[in-house]
């Protein structure tokens, strides 16, 4: 079995992130970048499957510039077998990412594509579903548990109304939610091994996918900040303010 794990490189969103003064960019150059946390969960899950079942190859793929070597080496250090960088100078919107990924899927013919449900930079939550549609594969988004049963994949999904369970025939696409697992830290031995693992670079142009921009950003602005209010010393006053805001009592 082959599992393809697309990964995105994103600024660490625990850092303070603001729009540039002219509104044309988001200031992220000075911020450390990491694998999108949801994609790290996808890598972890794929590696765990490869540790549990026999003959499972995990292939990580990233779309971007040479800086993608860093997150892909991390994926390799976590246990992926090899990596692919689809070299592309411009940042792409989810539609074009999914079209390039489709071309990679056609080359690699994986049985399962496992990827984060959203990237914490644009928070779009689109790419996996786009890709599933383009491939005409079944999908299970927001997965919190995976289990192979014969040739089928049983997935628990986190929905607004509880945990839904689906069974998918392969090939299939699954997007990961936070509670699927806790990604490991790459061990020193893993990092050493990763240096020798194959990391292939393909120019996006070679994939024969003409870009079709869908999202044009007109401007960015920093989010509204709230101001801190009062700190109450009296519980009676605090309770009264709560009652007032909740619209109960006097």
């Amino acid at each position: 079995m082959k599992i393809l794990v697309p990964t995105k490189r994103v600024p660490d969103t625990d850092q303070k992130i603001v729009a540039s003064a002219d509104g044309l960019r988001v200031e992220t150059d000075h911020i450390p970048h990491v694998i999108n946390p949801f994609d790290a969960i996808a890598v972890e899950e794929a590696v765990r499957i490869s540790e549990r079942l026999r003959d499972v190859e995990v292939v990580a793929v990233g779309i971007g510039g040479p800086e993608y070597e860093q997150p892909l080496r991390t994926a390799l250090a976590m246990g992926a077998a090899r990596g692919i960088i689809v070299q592309c100078a411009k940042p792409l919107d989810p539609w074009n990412v999914s079209r390039l990924l489709k071309a990679i899927v056609e080359r690699e013919t994986p049985d399962l594509v496992l990827m984060g449900k959203q990237a914490v930079d644009d928070d779009a939550n689109q790419t996996g579903q786009f890709l599933a549609a383009l491939l005409d594969w079944p999908q299970a988004t927001f997965a919190s548990r995976l289990e192979f049963i014969g040739n089928e994949l049983r997935v628990d999904r986190e929905t607004d109304h509880g945990i839904e369970t689906l069974t998918l025939t392969l090939p299939a696409l699954v997007t990961t939610d936070l509670r699927l697992n806790e990604p490991r830290y790459a061990s020193m031995a893993g990092i050493m091994k990763a240096r020798k693992k194959p990391l292939e670079t393909i120019a996006a142009g070679e994939l024969g996918v003409p870009l079709e921009p869908r999202v044009e950003v007109i401007r960015y602005r920093s989010g509204d900040t709230r101001r801190a209010g009062e700190r109450l010393a009296s519980l009676d006053e605090f309770a009264a303010l709560i009652a007032q805001a909740a619209g109960i009592g006097g």
């Binding site: 644009d122 579903q129 998918l168 920093s222 209010g229 805001a245």
Partner: protein, 327 residues
């Protein structure tokens, strides 16, 4: 401009978020005197379709193949209706339902999609959308290229549509059986039954964080205070990860986005990912034992103290308060 709004329902009633999405669609349609219609999908949906027709004309697809909300069949059905009805804009309220099926439907029409729209404007004949990014730290104003365009809309950002003076029509539609083919099988849904309102829809939300050590404590303190306020309960990720609160209560960047009249955070630190889900609440109140907890930076009123001591006191005072109002 022709706008199609996909309803979300539980088989018998419309979810309130759908009415806010219709509110968005009506606003967006107005400058071009556009038309707005609902699409109701499911099996045995006569009641929902009739309820929806109180607000706008309805296209209803009632089919056995739509019994469960599975992305493959729902996306194809939506794509078919969009094509045959020549819709320019397709909208649904942001929820796990829409996040699952909407991008898949959009991909069948060329992938022009915006997620989580919180504001829109017309500029030079184009409809622009404001979408939060980086857990709400930045808002991007975007234009989509291509047609039709698909958007999910944050319900809390738009007022609910108002009923018409006379109900609109319900137009049943049939689709070829191939539309409903799928390779995903529905096995079931596990949810915690609760008599409390849905956290995404409630006027008041009481949320608990890592301060609470067990599901019993959560129920007793967070649940207890919620009940005196007629509120929903919510939670930080920490408690859901620990198995203390069910996942459908998680508020935040990757959970539910809420904007109630009052959000009361008990023992929640105020991480950016949590704030992303509640910072547009009208009023925020916080109780935390750490005077430097970031939650106080966004709270309208705060109290420094131990939630195990403070919450019972609040319950006592608010019970008296409520009794005073009704009695």
């Amino acid at each position: 401009m022709r706008i199609l709004v996909i309803t979300e329902h539980d088989g018998t009633t419309l979810r309130p978020a759908s009415l806010s999405c219709l509110g968005f669609a009506q606003q967006a349609a107005r400058p071009s005197s556009g038309e707005v219609a609902w699409l109701v999908l499911g099996q045995g949906i006569a009641d929902v379709a009739a309820a929806a027709a109180q607000y706008a004309p309805v296209i209803a697809i009632d089919a056995a193949g739509l019994e469960h909300e599975l992305a493959e069949s729902y996306a194809r059905a939506i794509a078919e209706v969009v094509k045959s009805g020549r819709f320019d804009l397709v909208a649904a309220a942001s929820s796990t339902f829409a996040k699952d099926i909407f991008p898949r439907a959009a991909a069948l029409h060329g992938g022009a999609m915006a997620s989580d729209v919180v504001r829109h404007e017309w500029a030079d004949g184009r409809l622009l959308f404001d979408c939060p990014r980086f857990a709400g730290a930045v808002t991007a104003t975007i234009a989509l290229h291509g047609s039709p365009q698909f958007v999910t809309v944050r319900a809390s950002a738009y007022p609910a549509a108002v009923p018409l003076s006379q109900a609109a029509t319900v137009e049943p539609m049939e689709l070829p059986p191939a539309t409903f083919a799928r390779r995903a099988r529905y096995e079931g849904l596990r949810s915690k039954q609760t008599a409390r309102p849905d956290v995404a829809e409630a006027r008041v939300v009481v949320s608990g964080g890592r301060a609470f050590k067990s599901a019993e404590d959560f129920e007793r303190y967070v649940g207890g205070l919620a009940d005196v306020l007629g509120a929903a309960t919510g939670s930080s990720r920490a408690l859901v990860d620990a198995g203390i609160a069910p996942n459908e209560l998680q508020v935040g960047q990757t959970g539910k986005i809420v904007a109630p009249d009052l959000y009361l955070a008990l023992g929640i630190s105020g991480a950016v990912q949590h704030l992303a889900g509640m910072k547009n609440s009208k009023k925020i109140a916080a109780v935390n034992s750490d005077p430097d907890a970031p939650i106080f930076e966004v709270a309208d009123f705060g109290f420094v103290g131990d939630v195990y001591a403070v919450t019972p006191e609040l319950i006592k005072r608010l019970e008296q308060n409520g009794a005073g109002a009704t009695g």
